[in-house]
């Protein structure tokens, strides 16, 4: 950690979470380190299997039983190792100091309990509020998250609310004990675009008002780009690139981030513009490729990428794990050499054949 950064609220060091599968050990998160300052918003972007959800579930201590967290992993919250907490301290930590909002507001609410009961439970348990005080606070919370007629809603059940309202209730529950950190795992993926915007606006407003830190996970680069201070791009259980959000999107360095951006349809491009595809499929995390995990799909890969594992380069603020970063002399040269050869250093064919033929993953699991 650099000295010019404030003392972090959360420091994750060398986090590794694996699962035993019949085929072997699957390293879902493999050596991830990052810090989060108080009231900072960090966006985490990645595709399925990138490890973003396992990462935050490790922090939240809600992993399935068969998951293994490596002994040398550190999760420090205000300087204290959270995995050492036991009993009441652990319950208080995960109940009151860190809260989480999930993707699907229907399945994360209990269908047979009223909204009021679900909202007041954590406050009565963690804050020791009386029933009446908790009810009053619950109505206030519903008003804060933009729900009309809050008092009447307390006696309603989840199925009586729309998807957007249910997600507001979830956010209300998460905020009920004034957490210092809110983890939002794809909070708007199940919602319509107009509702998504309202929920993202709500999260942004509450974060400023309550000076709360936030980790916002999304597969949608655009969602993260407008709503976070820093962005972390994950690929195959590792951090590919991390940096101040505006900087990362303006001067994208990792070829994976760049490829992801090019393959995202954007409304500012004319209709029928062909999308660039990323060749191949996500790597097998039981037997990850040697060297850089993105090398087999990377246009800029050189022979070195398959032999050595690039570490996160330590450029101030903006860091990336790549030997031949996009927009640098080394990267441009690597791409030029690969194009001249017709194939990358990792053997990916770069001759312009039918684009989608090359997408057939050689590795059908």
């Amino acid at each position: 950690m650099r000295s010019d950064e404030p003392a972090p609220l959360l420091a994750v060091e060398n986090l590794a979470t694996s699962f035993s599968t019949p085929r072997g050990v699957l390293r879902a998160v493999d050596g991830v380190s990052f810090t989060l300052a108080p009231s900072e918003a960090l966006g985490v972007v990645g595709e399925s299997g990138s490890g973003k959800s396992v990462l935050v579930r490790t922090v939240m201590n809600i992993l399935p039983r068969q998951a293994q967290v490596a002994a040398e992993s550190r999760i420090l919250f205000e300087g204290q190792e959270v995995r050492d907490r036991r009993g009441a301290a652990a319950r208080h930590f995960w109940g009151a100091e860190v809260a989480m909002v999930f993707q699907d507001p229907m399945t994360s609410l209990n269908p047979v309990r009223t909204i009021g009961r679900q909202l007041t439970e954590p406050m009565r348990h963690h804050l020791g509020l009386s029933r009446r005080a908790a009810d009053t606070r619950a109505a206030e919370l519903l008003a804060e998250v933009g729900i009309s007629e809050p008092v009447r809603r307390l006696s309603q059940y989840p199925h009586e609310l729309s998807g957007g309202m249910r997600q507001r209730v979830m956010i209300g529950i998460a905020l009920s004990c004034s957490p210092k950190l809110l983890i939002a795992d794809e909070p708007t993926t199940a919602l319509d675009v107009t509702v998504q915007k309202e929920i993202l606006d709500l999260l942004a407003r509450l974060r400023t008002e309550l000076r709360m830190a936030m980790i916002l996970i999304s597969h949608d680069l655009a969602v993260v780009s407008g709503r976070t201070d820093r962005t972390m791009v994950m690929y195959a259980g590792r951090v590919a690139e991390i940096g101040p959000t505006a900087e990362l999107f303006r001067h994208t360095r990792h070829p994976y981030t760049a490829a992801l951006l090019r393959s995202t349809p954007r409304i500012d491009q004319p209709s029928h513009t062909p999308l660039e595809v990323i060749a191949g499929g996500a790597p097998d995390l039981v037997h990850p490729p040697p060297g850089c995990r993105f090398a087999p799909r990377c246009r800029q890969a050189r022979p070195r990428c398959q032999q050595e594992d690039p570490a996160l380069a330590d450029e101030p603020g903006h860091r990336y794990a790549c030997f031949y970063p996009v927009g640098t002399e080394a990267g441009d040269r690597a791409l030029a050499e690969n194009l001249a050869d017709g194939r990358t250093g990792a053997g990916l064919d770069l001759t312009p054949v039918r684009t989608d033929r090359s997408t057939l993953d050689g590795a059908v699991n």
């Binding site: 595709e47 399925s48 729309s162 998807g163 957007g164 309202m165 319509d192 675009v193 107009t194 509702v195 998504q196 915007k197 309202e198 993202l200 606006d201 597969h219 949608d220 680069l221 655009a222 969602v223 780009s225 407008g226 709503r227 505006a246 999107f249 303006r250 490829a259 992801l260 951006l261 393959s263 995202t264 349809p265 954007r266 409304i267 500012d268 491009q269 004319p270 209709s271 029928h272 513009t273 062909p274 999308l275 660039e276 595809v277 990323i278 499929g281 996500a282 039918r354 684009t355 989608d356 033929r357 997408t359 057939l360 993953d361 059908v364 699991n365």
Partner: protein, 341 residues
Amino acid sequence: MAGTGKAHLRDTDDVVLRVEDLTVRFPAGRGRSVQAVSGISLDARVRETVGLVGESGCGKSTTGRAILQLPPPTSGSVRFDGTELTALRGERLRRTRTRLQMIFQDPISSLNPRRTVRDIVAEGLRIWHREGGPAARRRVDEVLDAVGLDPRLVGDRRPHELSGGQCQRVCIARALVLEPAVVLCDEPVSALDVSVQAQILNLLEEMKQRYGLTLLFVAHDLAVVKRVSDRIVVMYLGKICEVASPDVLFARPAHPYTALLLRSIPELDDGSPAPARTSGELPSALDPPSGCRFRTRCPRAADVCARTEPQLRQTGPDQYVACHFPQDAPADGPTAGRSRP
């Protein structure tokens, strides 16, 4: 009840699908019913992609399914290649429907987990006895190859051995094997990762060219719909708000609801302040607002909007809007000139 107008329907010879006044009503318990689709008219020309967009509950998927008679609509007409589909029953309907195929949202759950890829793709051929034995097998392998799957590699595998993107390729192969004229794609990429989504969108475009397909593309993601469509139909609460070509629609939306949708899309590097909030939630389809259904959320709503339902009318070249107070085209739009109908 008045429909939302038919000004946007075309009378050219290459219209392969013409839907008029389509209405779908579902029972909603206690003797009530809900009209999921209320008098929709649309058409599609050969090799055209018509995008249907709108939020959940707007009736876009129901419209698509009713066109395929799954289930048949409550009322209205669906003419496909000169045949009135709503008049067909039983085997004649099923036989005609082989030429209208469908691709679903969740590629994994829409494939039978016990069957091999080759079996899944061959099933339609087997049912209709189009080709038997080696000919059928050749045809299946040919289609698998066309969608970017190596038949030798995946032909004998089962869906759980494939990735989501590969499963969607199998679904596309299954739809194409019967040589359809129209393919309904119902949120075909919304369950897929961004990089896989790009592969499938490019594949659909390629298949459209190769097999001369007409696509009905139902999706909630406007950037995706813009990418694939030749014409976009924006729906709200079972009605059409606006019909336009993609570049026109995105450059200068005429309906306030289209404008709201476009403003809501998160954009990369978007540091701009949030626009004025549109208040309120989607009204219940059980009891839709009178007149214009969007008026309860519309910043422009006036008395007339509650009394009279707006009809679709032309506001520009290839742009039709059902609104009493459509947004004026900004002068700096790419196509500033507007023709009066």
